[in-house]
Amino acid sequence: MAENDRRNHSYRGGRKRRYRDDDDFDRRPQRRRYEEPLFVQVRRQLLTIAESAARRAEDDVQGIAKTVTDNYDDEEIRRDFVNISLDLVLEQPMKIPFIAGTVLVAHSLKPELGSEVLSKAAEALQKYIDMGAWREVKLLIRFLGILQPVYEGDGIFPLLEELFARAVDLQTASSEDLLGLELVKIIQFTIPYVMLSPASGFEGQASALLEKTDIIASTPHALVDLVNSFSAEENQEAAGQSVISLMQTQLQSEANQGWELKCLPRPWKDARDAETDEPKSFESVVKVPFPAITVPNPVPNGERPLFPEVYLSVYANQEVDTVPAITDISSSLIRDALVDTINLLDFNRVATAKFLIDIDCYFTPTTFVKRATPFDRMRELIGEVQPWKPEDVAVDAVFSQLFQLPASEHKLVYYHSVLTECCKIAPAAIAPSLGRAIRFLYNSLETMDLELSNRFLDWFAHHLSNFGFTWKWSEWADDLDLPAIDPRMAFIQGALDKEIRLSFAQRIKGTLPDPYPKLITPGKEKDTPDFKYSSEMAPYSKEGQELMQLIRKKASDEEIQPVITAIEDQAKSQGVDDPKIPSTDAFVTSLCFVGSKSLSHVLSCIERSKDRLLTIGAESERARCQIITSVMDYWVDQPGIAINIIDKLLNYTILTPLSVLEWALSESVAAGTILSKPHVFEMISATVGKVTNRMRQIVAARGQHGLYEPQLSVIDETLTRERAEMQALFKYIEDSIVSVAAGSNDEQMERGDGSGTQPEDAIIRQWGRRWLRVFRRKAAVEEAFISDSLANATPLGTQAPPVSQRDDAADGDLDIADADAQ
C-alpha cells in the first residue's frame, strides 16, 4: 500500500486533484481507528513529563506512578518505565526531580518497582564511574539522592563520603589535580537534592560534609586565572569565581536558611495517600539498602579533559536583576541543569531550544516572571519578591558555554545554532535578551579575554546573517570616532567584514544607518580587486601584465621564467636587495588576480604553480614572506578571502606556520597595531591550530595500545621533533608579543615622540597583553594534553610479546608489568 501511495502522490494532477472534483463521493481511506496501547501511552507521558504548562507536573508524577504500579505485571510497561526514566535522567537533567518524584510515588505503592529502578540505576552508575564519565555520574547520583527516603540508614551519604575521600587523596597527591575538584563538584551538586527530598533529619550529615569540602572548594586553583573570561590584570572586578568556590558559599548560606531551595520543584509534595487522603508520608515506605557501588582507587578520568569552570553571566551588573545573584544558590542550580541539558542534547538543537524556552516548567512557579515580560516591566517589579526573567537565565547559560575556556564542549557553531533556534521559537521574548547580552559583551570588549572577544565577533556576524542582518547600529555610532585600533572600533569593522563574508558588500551596506555606510569602502564592493600592474605608473607594470596573461593562458613554466628573470634583472639594476621580492610579488599578485573569480579558480592556479611557489619559499625567507604580503595586499579589502588563501598555501606546505607568524608579528607588526585586526588573530589562531591538531594526532598515534618497536621509536622521533617545532612556534609568539605588551617594540619606540605616553600606546600595550594571555594558555593546554596522554603510553623499547603470549597482552596487564620493568 505504501508503494501505491507514493506513486499517486508523485505528480501534480494525480490522485489529489482528481478527487477534488469528486465532491459527493470521497473514497479516501479513513485512518484506521485504534486504541493506543497502554505502554505507548506511558512512554509518551513519561517522555513529556512536566513539559506542559497546561498540566500540573504533580498530576503527571502521580498519574504515571499509578498507571505503572497498577499494571506492574505488564512486563513491557515495567521495562519502558525503568529504561526511559534513566534515559531522561541522563539526557534531560531538568526533569530529574520529576522522574525521581514518580519513582518515589511508585515505590510507595509498589516497592518491587522501586527496587527495580534502583538496581538498574546502580548498574548504570557503576559503569559510568568505571569509565570516568563524571557528568553522567553526577546526574545519576542526583537522581538517587532525591530517593533518599527509601534507603535504610544513611542512604547516599556513605557514597558521597567515599567520593570525598578519593578527592582528598588526589588533592594531597598533587596541587594541580583537577579530578578531585570534579568529585567535589559532584558532592556539592548532590547535597541540595538530598535535602530537597522528603527525607528528614540529614541536616547534620550535610553540614559535616560541607565543612569537609570547604577546604578543597575554597582554595583557588592555579588554573582558574588561565580560564577566566576576564583576566584579573585587565578587569579585577569582572573576573569571575570558580563554580565550586561559589557553590560552596551558596551551600553554606542555604544550610543556614534551613535548605529552603526555593527554585527547585518538589512534585511529590501534594501526593496523598489513597486510603486516608492524608498527605503522603514517604518516611513510612518500605526501606531498602542503598545499592552497592564500588569507587575504584584511584578513580579513572574520562575522555573529556578537565579544567576549572568559572561562573560567567552576561547579565551581571544590570540596573535591575533579571538573573539570580551569585550569592543565591539558584544561580548555580539552574545554571548547572541548563548547561548539562545544552551540552547533552547537541544532536537536536531544536529540542534544546525548546527546553530553554520552557525553562519555567521545570522550576517552581515563583522562580520566574511570565515569559516575555519586558525588561522595563521588571523595573516596576522591584521590591516585590524578585522573580527572574526566564529568557535571560536561558540565554545566559548558552553564552556561558559559548564562552567556555579553554574550549567549549562542542563546536562553537552549535551554540550559535541554539541561540538561532531560540530566536525562531520565541523572537519577541529572546531578541531583547540577546540585545542586552550583546551590549554587555560590547562594553566588555576591552577587558574580556581576547579569544572570547573573537568568539563574540564570530557569533554576532553569524547570528545577524540568520535574521536579515538587522541590528541597532545607531547606538554605537558615537564610537566611530574612536581610533581604528580601539577594541570597539576593531569590533565594528571586524563584524562588518564578517557579515560581508557571509553575504556581500552591497547587501550589508543597505542594512546600515548613517554614518556606517562609509565603512564599506568602494574597494569592498568590488568583486574583483584591481590589478596593480594595470597602471602604467606601477613598477614592473609591463612584466606584471605579461605574467598575468601567461598564467591566464595556463602557460608552461618555460614561458613564465623569462618574465620573472626580466623583473629580477630590472630590480638588480635598480639596486634592490632581494630581486626575488618584486618577481614574487608580480607572480603571486597575478595568481590572485587570475584566480579572483572564486576559491576553486585560485586553487587551481596555485595547483598549477605549486612547484614554482615551493621553490620560491625554499630559496628565500623574505620571498616567502612576500607571498603572504602579496596575497594580503591584493585582498586587502576582503581579508576573509586572503586568510583563506593563506590557509590553503599552508596545506600545500608552500608556506610554513612560522612564516605566517613572522609575517604578522614581525614584518607587518606596524608597531603592534596589527594586533587589533580580528582577521589577523583569526589567521594566527588557525595557523597555530593546524600545528596543534597535527601534534595531537601524533600524540594519539603514540599513545595507542599494542604498539611495539620498531614503530614505537619511529613515532616517538616524529613526536619529539614536532613537539620541539610547536614549542618554537609558541616561543616565537611569546618573544614577539612580549615586547609589544611592554611597549619596547622597536617600531613602538619610534612612534610619535617615543615617550610611550600617547593615548594609542596604552591601547597597543593592552592588545599585546591580551594576545599573550591567549597564546600562553594555548601553549599550556597543549603541553598538558601531551604529558597527560603520554603518561600511559607504552614505553620505548617495548617489544612485541611472543606469539604464544598474545592472548595475555590483550587485557593490558602485560603493558603495566613492562612499564615497571623499565
Partner: protein, 177 residues
C-alpha cells in the same frame, strides 16, 4: 559519552527521508539484487564525509559556502552544482570534510539554518562522483526548478517549464491580437 541505545528526542544527524526512500524504491525494483546485497541504506553513509547542500541561491558564491561550512571543520573539497548547459551555479553543492564527525556536526548545527538569507538543506551523501555536479532537470538545472509555481528570485524566478509555457501563451496571445 552517553551509552543510551535510543535517545529521548530525535537526532538531527540521520540521513534524510529522501535518501532512505530513494534507496527503498531502488530495492523494490530490483528484488533479486537486493537479496544479494543485503545492504542497509545507512551502511554506505557509515563513514560518509560528504554532504549534499540544497536550496542555495543561484547567486551564492563558493566563498560564502566556505565561510559557513568551515565552522564545522576544515573543508577538503567544495563542488558547486552547475547547470548542465550553461555551467552556471544552479543552487546546490557538495561539501566534503576530512572526517565523518564533521559531516554529522554539520547536519546537526548548519542544516536548516540560513545562508545568504535562505534556509539551506543538508543531507549526508555517499560521496561525490564526476557528473553529479550537474543539474538533472530538463532544462539543465535542478528538477525542482522546472516545476515551481511560486516566484523565487534567488533561483531563477518561476519554474522553467512553466516559464516556457507562459512565454508560449503570451506569444500566441500577442499574435492573435
Amino acid at each position: 559519552m552517553s551509552l543510551l541505545a535510543v535517545n529521548t528526542v530525535d537526532r538531527l544527524d540521520r540521513p534524510s527521508a529522501y535518501y532512505v526512500s530513494k534507496n527503498k524504491r531502488r530495492r523494490f525494483n530490483d528484488r533479486e539484487e537486493e537479496e544479494q546485497q543485503q545492504e542497509k541504506p545507512d551502511d554506505k553513509l557509515k563513514d560518509a564525509t560528504t554532504l549534499y547542500v540544497g536550496n542555495l541561491s543561484f547567486y551564492t558564491t563558493e566563498e560564502q559556502i566556505h565561510e559557513l561550512f568551515a565552522k564545522c571543520g576544515e573543508i577538503k573539497r567544495l563542488v558547486m552544482g552547475l547547470d548542465r548547459f550553461n555551467k552556471t551555479p544552479c543552487g546546490f553543492c557538495f561539501v566534503e570534510y576530512y572526517t565523518h564527525q564533521d559531516a554529522l556536526d554539520c547536519l546537526k548545527y548548519i542544516g536548516g539554518t540560513k545562508l545568504d538569507e535562505r534556509i539551506i538543506r543538508t543531507d549526508l551523501d555517499p560521496g561525490f562522483e564526476e557528473g553529479r555536479q550537474f543539474g538533472r532537470g530538463k532544462s539543465g538545472g535542478q528538477v525542482r526548478d522546472e516545476y515551481r509555481e511560486e516566484y523565487d528570485p534567488g533561483r531563477g524566478g518561476y519554474g522553467r517549464a512553466y516559464d516556457e509555457q507562459r512565454q508560449r501563451e503570451e506569444d500566441e496571445y500577442g499574435a492573435g491580437r
